[in-house]
Structures are given as C-alpha cells and as structure tokens.
C-alpha cells in the first residue's frame, strides 16, 4: 500500500464515520417541551457532521504528500503480540484476578518483545504485579483474585 492509498483509505473512513454521525443525529430524541430551546441536543451534531464530511472530503480528493509509511521494516508480530496480550488482559482480569493476569500479561509482553532470560521474565512480572497489588491494597483499593479467591475460601 502506498502512502497515497493509505491517506485515501483513512480519509474515506473518517468520511463514512462523519456521515454515519450525521445520519444518526436525526435519530436523537428531542425531549418534550424543549421546543422553547432554539438549540436542541441534535443541533450541535448536525453542525459537526457536515464539517467532518467536508474536511475528510478534501483529504480524499487531494491526499497530502508524505514519506512512505515504511511497512517493510515493521515487525507486525511484536505489535500484534502486544495487542493480543491486551485483549487477553481484558478477558482475564475478572476471571483470574489482578495479580495473576498482570503477571502473565507482563511476562508475555517481555517475551513478545524479545526478552528471553527466564529470571527476568518471572521476577519482574511477578514483582511488579504483586508490588502494585500491595500498594493499592494499602491505599484501600480492592483488587480481587478472581477464581483463586473462590478456591481458597
């Protein structure tokens, strides 16, 4: 994908976003007896939608020049690994609890970015998550242990 194609794609996406925003603005309910207010909950969105559409249209028609994005040198695996781990975090936090999820996330993150020393992986990940848990507990913020809490009790 060239830079210009990328620019066009982004502009098109924002154009569609603005269009959707504009169309949905008509669906905003007007509460009763607000006819005395000249500017309703709908008015501002109705102004923003066309503004967004106009600006993104300019970018679509005349995509700005720029250096190539340089996708060749990108390590997609590392980036996707981190995003995947975040998804794991969101899935696991309520099930495995704070400490275990955090330790797994951190160890996985270090590994994905090239750290291979087992001691570093284990100690830093566990240390940080336990450290945070302790500090938050001292500050009266309750972070639970998920399923482990139920197993213990």
């Amino acid at each position: 994908m060239t830079r210009t194609q990328g620019e066009r794609l982004a502009a098109l996406a924002i154009l569609l976003f603005s269009l959707g925003y504009f169309v949905l603005a008509f669906g905003i309910k007007a509460p009763p007896s607000s006819d005395d207010s000249p500017f309703s909950a709908r008015s501002f969105p109705l102004m923003l939608g066309p503004l967004g559409m106009a600006l993104s249209l300019v970018l679509l028609v005349r995509p700005p020049e720029g250096a190539p994005i340089g996708a060749a040198g990108f390590s997609w695996g590392r980036a996707l690994g981190l995003v995947g781990l975040m998804v794991f975090y969101a899935l696991a936090i309520n099930r495995l609890g704070f400490v275990v999820t955090s330790a797994l996330f951190l160890a996985g993150g270090f590994w994905a970015l090239g750290e291979r020393r087992p001691m570093v992986l284990a100690l830093v990940a566990l240390g940080v998550s336990l450290g945070f848990w302790t500090m938050f507990s001292l500050l009266d913020v309750k972070l639970d242990w998920g399923v482990f809490e139920r197993i213990w009790s």
């Binding site: 207010s37 909950a41 501002f44 980036a79 936090i93």
Partner: protein, 500 residues
C-alpha cells in the same frame, strides 16, 4: 495581613505539622503517580483521618496531599506519555518529546518549578483578592464560558505542522464529535450510546488520552522496532546535572510561568471551568503568543510548552479555593470533598470569611504556601531517580507502559468494557498516527467540546434564542475577538511576509 501571615505561620510551625506536610506531599505525589488514582482519590482517602486532627494540621495535610497529587500526575505524562489525570494531558504534548531527546530531568524540573510558582502565586492572589474575584467569577456566565472555550480551540493552530492544517482541524472535529457521546447535560437524552450502558456517562477523557498517546506509542515502538534513544538512556543513567535549570532556562520560562500562573488562577476561580481547562488554555495562549522559532518548537519539546500547563493546573487548584471559601461552591469533585472537610473543621464559607474567621483563613493560606514549598523541596532531589525509568530496556518498558495504561483505566471504573474501548481506540489511533494525523487536537476538541456545547445552549436558552450576547456582553465579545485575532494574525503575517 503580615500579622495574619505570622499568626498562621506560628500556628503551623510545629514538628507535628511539618511532619504531616512531608507525609502529605510524599503520599500525594505517590498517589498522583499511580495509574488510575488522582487528587480526588487522594483527598477522599484521607478525609476520615484528617477530621480527627486539629483543624490546622488537617488543613495542612489536605493542601499538601492535593498539590502533591496534582504534581505527581505530571510525572507519567513526561516520562511515558501517559497522563496520570486529566489536567496533566497537555503536559504530554511537550514533556514527552523532551524526555525522548534526553531531557527528562529538565522537563520534570520545569514541572516541579512550574507547579511551585503556580501554586504560590495562586495563594498570593487568594490572599489579596479573594472576595473581589469571587464576585467577578459570578458575572462569568454561559456566554463567557462559551467564548472561553472558543478561545481554547484556537490552540489547534499549534498542531498544524506535522500533518497539515486540514488534518488538525479534522481531528478537532472528531474530538468534538466524541464529546457528544453519552447523556446530554441539558435534555438528559442519550446520544450515540447505541443502548450501551457503559458509555451512557460519556467517554472517559483519560481513557482517550491513554489510547491516543501512551498506549499507541508503546505499540508503535514495538512495531517500528524502536530502541529508546541513546541520549535518553544516557541522560537517565545519571546525568543529574540536567535537572538543574540553567540561567537560559529560567529566562526562557519565567514569563511563561508568570502568565500561566495568572491565567491558571483566573480560570481556576471560575466554578464552571477547572484545572484541566486551565492547563489547555495556558498551553493555547503560550503557543499563540510565541513567534518564529519558538512557535515551531511547540509540540516538539518546547520548554514553555511543558511549563505552561503544569504551572496553570496548580494555579487553578489554588484558584478553586476562591469560590470554595467565599461562596461555598465547589468547581470539581476534589474541591467538593475538600469543602465538606473544611466545613466539618469549622470553616464557614462566605464573603466575609477572611474577616470573621481570620485565624482559619490564615491557617489555610499559610498551609498552602508551605505545602507548595515542601513539595518542591522533596521532589526535586527525587527527579533523577524517577527519570531512571527511561533507562529500562525497551522490551521491558513497552509492556510496562501498556500495563500502566490498562491498570489506569480499569481502576477508575472496574469495568472491562473500558479496556475493550481503549484497545479499540488505540488500534484506530495507531493507524491515524502512522499517517501523521495529530492526536492533540482530538483531545483538545474532546475536552472543550462538552463545555462549548453546554454553555452555548444555555446562553441561547437564557437569551431567548438570540445570538446577540456574542457582541452585547463585553467580556464575551472581547474573548471572541481575541480568538478571531489568534486565527487571523498568523495568516496576516504570512501574507505580509510574502509581500516583502
């Protein structure tokens, strides 16, 4: 007045109070640095403790913990591009670029000094002019707030270099659009929530800032296989000298500190604005009045750019005491909690507070001076150690930053929906950033958008639908005129330059 100050000072200068001050500053800074916790949490946590103390000690502790948390929020903004709380968001704009080029120590020192100056000037103004300012704050109504938000939006001009004017404007519009998500303040109708209850209160500003800055930054670094720059590493490893401000630094930022202190204080006095707006406004003003080379530095690591918001948000925190003490009106959640504590401690807010309850008033004032001073004294020596964060190898630091963001968002709501939202927004932001779309205008539009719309609607409602308030009210007209000048002046200069 001197007498009052001395009485207050005398009352506070006990070993116990100094100990509490130190504790409050350290604890406050620490809480402020922690992801997800800010001044509100810091103050709320301490209320039960504070109320068992002597009123003087209690106020000292409250002031120090409040300022401490405000200050602590800036640390993560500078070091890892992750604002600890909303009023530190503009600090990332220039603080992080400074840290990236190896000047983390200096940026943090500027933050510390800025906070100190802002807080001290605010206390001074509180002492001198509280009653006058309070009645002025009341004349500031919906039309004026609207004009103030318009002025704030002119800061968009600061971000036009990287990807062109159109992209900056477009991101502002998208930010304004995102601000309309959630339950409308005036009519109570839900907009763009698609029936999802998790966004019925609107999108979280800190979440958006994390997705747009720190999180996408960490992932982009992994994508580009970036290493922490050698300069940053070297500086972090112990070039302690960099945290000392040079004469040139002081010359550079002194005018900024003066302006931002005043502006921050004035905006802080307004119950409808607050520290976040103050920080954005002062950034906008500094950028708008800068010329030539200095102007180009904004967004790329300008010393003025990092000093302005940090000075202003602390000054605004001091300014918020004006409506609090003289009218009993809190402008934010934090000040609402502090108000409750003050009333419980025997402070009866009112216009004659500083006459009728002079002892209490001076205790508050002196505790604020001391709080700011001790904060500076304690934090400056810590900066080199904190700055060492950047010496952490990249494969360790990036996951830690991502972790910081996840925890910071999760701990506010305990809602995994917010995590999904942040991950989704982050992926979108990565795409936009690869194409040089600037992220700061998005946040600017978002933070000003809600108040812009709310106040415009209220202004129209109370003026029976007439737009005449825009030129009939002197302050509104003045603010709008300045906004127009801010937009037109650079164009005019360019035109003039071309002709020469």
């Amino acid at each position: 007045m001197i007498e009052g100050l001395l009485t207050g000072l005398y009352g506070l200068m006990t070993p116990m109070n100094i100990g509490l001050l130190m504790m409050g500053c350290i604890l406050g800074t620490f809480i402020g640095m922690m992801p997800g916790l800010g001044p509100v949490t810091a103050v709320s946590l301490l209320i039960p403790v504070v109320l068992t103390m002597q009123p003087a000690s209690a106020m000292v502790l409250l002031a120090s913990i409040y300022y401490g948390a405000m200050f602590g929020g800036s640390t993560a903004s500078v070091l890892i591009n992750a604002p600890g709380e909303s009023s530190s968001v503009p600090t990332t704009f220039d603080g992080y670029p400074m840290a990236k080029r190896g000047e983390a120590g200096r940026a943090l020192a500027l933050c510390a000094w800025g906070s100190f100056v802002g807080g001290t000037v605010a206390t001074l103004l509180l002492m001198l002019a509280a009653p006058t300012l309070a009645s002025w704050a009341l004349t500031f109504q919906a039309p004026e707030y609207f004009a103030l938000m318009v002025l704030g939006l002119t800061a968009v001009a600061a971000f036009t270099e990287s990807g062109g004017v159109i992209k900056a404007l477009l991101m502002t519009v998208v930010g304004l659009m995102l601000a309309t998500v959630g339950t409308d303040v005036a009519d109570g109708v839900e907009r763009y929530t698609f029936g999802i209850r998790d966004i019925a209160d609107g999108l979280s500003f800190v979440l958006l800032a994390m997705a747009a800055f720190a999180l996408s930054e960490a992932i982009l670094a992994a994508l580009r296989n970036e290493k922490v720059s050698e300069e940053a590493k070297k500086a972090a490893r112990g070039d302690v000298g960099s945290l000392k401000l040079t004469a040139d630094d002081i010359r550079e930022v002194a005018p900024t500190m003066a302006r931002s202190s005043l502006l921050g204080f004035v905006v802080g006095v307004l119950p409808g604005a607050g520290a976040t707006i103050a920080a954005f406004m002062s950034y906008a003003v500094e950028r708008n009045i800068a010329t030539g080379k200095r102007r180009e530095e904004f967004g790329k690591g300008s010393r003025r750019g990092v000093t302005a918001p940090e000075t202003a948000n602390n000054a605004a925190a001091g300014g918020a005491y004006v409506p609090l003490l003289t009218l009993g009106i809190p402008g934010s959640g934090t000040t609402a909690v502090i108000l409750g504590a003050l009333v419980a401690l025997g402070v009866q807010p009112g216009p004659r507070l500083y006459v009728d309850q002079s002892a209490m008033f001076w205790t508050v004032v002196v505790s604020m001076y001391l709080g700011n001073l001790i904060l500076l004294v304690i934090n400056l020596p810590l900066i080199p150690y904190i700055a060492r964060t950047l010496a952490i190898p990249e494969q360790i630091l990036s996951p830690l930053i991502a972790f910081f963001c996840l925890v910071g968002v999760f701990l506010v709501s305990f809602n995994t929906f917010d995590l999904w939202l942040m991950i989704g927004l982050c992926v979108v932001c990565i795409g936009l950033r690869l194409l040089d779309y600037p992220m700061a205008p998005l946040l600017l539009g978002f933070v000003l958008g809600k108040l812009l719309e709310e106040n415009l609607r209220r202004a129209l409602l109370v003026n029976d639908g007439s737009f005449a308030f825009m030129w009939e009210r002197p302050v509104t007209a003045l603010l709008l005129a300045i906004s127009i000048a801010c937009v037109l002046a650079p164009m005019a200069m360019k035109l003039a330059g071309r002709r020469c």
